[in-house]
């Protein structure tokens, strides 16, 4: 069964460093998303991406964040200058183009720890 994959599974970085989190969505999906979950809190929406551009972003997704689909398979989230409060699990999700199929499928996540 097709699945969303994410790399790395864990990332430890120093405050102020740049990190890139990678995702490979399910191959026939055209909508892509990033969410995060800070320990003990809800899963929160960060950004949605369709047709090579951002569709919508939450207030969390400030200028330090960017997303890109550099090729036909990868979808990346970049944090330019990490802060301690960026420590969280980051989940990528994707869904089909079909408007009748709203289900988003999630990857296993990347655990980011900013020291």
């Amino acid at each position: 069964e097709p699945e969303v994959t994410q790399t790395p599974s864990h990332q430890v970085t120093q405050m102020g460093q740049e990190v890139i989190l990678r995702c490979v969505p399910i191959s026939n999906h055209l909508y892509f998303y990033w969410y995060r979950q800070i320990l003990g809190q809800k899963v929160e929406f960060l950004v949605s991406f369709y047709n090579n551009e951002i569709s919508e972003k939450s207030e969390i997704f400030d200028d330090q964040f960017s997303v890109e689909r550099p090729d036909g398979s990868n979808f990346t989230l970049k944090i330019r200058s990490t802060k301690l409060e960026d420590s969280a699990m980051y989940f990528c999700a994707s869904r089909e183009l079909d408007s009748l199929q709203e289900t988003q499928y999630f990857g296993p996540g990347t655990r980011l720890l900013v020291l």
């Binding site: 909508y31 809800k42 709203e102 999630f106």
Partner: protein, 114 residues
């Protein structure tokens, strides 16, 4: 701003009995609802969904009920099995949300006792 609420942080049931997990929402724009199961340090796994044009959807042991007038949905698991022990998240999306971005509840930890 809790648009999706799961008021029970935990639930414990005996193996073979019914598990009922509840979820309330406040945003009238939500028209699609999903339940995800999550283990620690893993991503949410899709279980079952329901569109607002329906009031019930069933898939094997899992049934989701939607009461639009009460803005309430519930997930029934019958019979419950020890492997069902996990955190269950209710999520919702709707017109006007960013390309159908999901809004999640805070989760309910289900423990199924053998």
């Amino acid at each position: 701003d809790q648009q999706v609420k799961q008021n029970s942080p935990s639930l414990s049931v005996q193996e073979g009995r019914i598990s009922i997990l509840n979820c309330d929402y406040t945003n009238s724009m939500f028209d699609y609802f999903l339940w995800y199961k999550k283990y620690p340090a893993e991503g949410p796994t899709f279980l079952i969904s329901i569109s607002s044009i329906k009031d019930k959807n069933e898939d094997g042991r899992f049934t989701v009920f939607l009461n639009k007038s009460a803005k309430h949905l519930s997930l029934h698991i019958v019979p419950s099995q020890p492997g069902d022990s996990a955190v269950y998240f209710c999520a919702a999306s709707g017109r006007g949300t960013g390309r159908r971005a999901l809004t999640f509840g805070s989760g309910t930890r289900l423990q199924v006792q053998p």
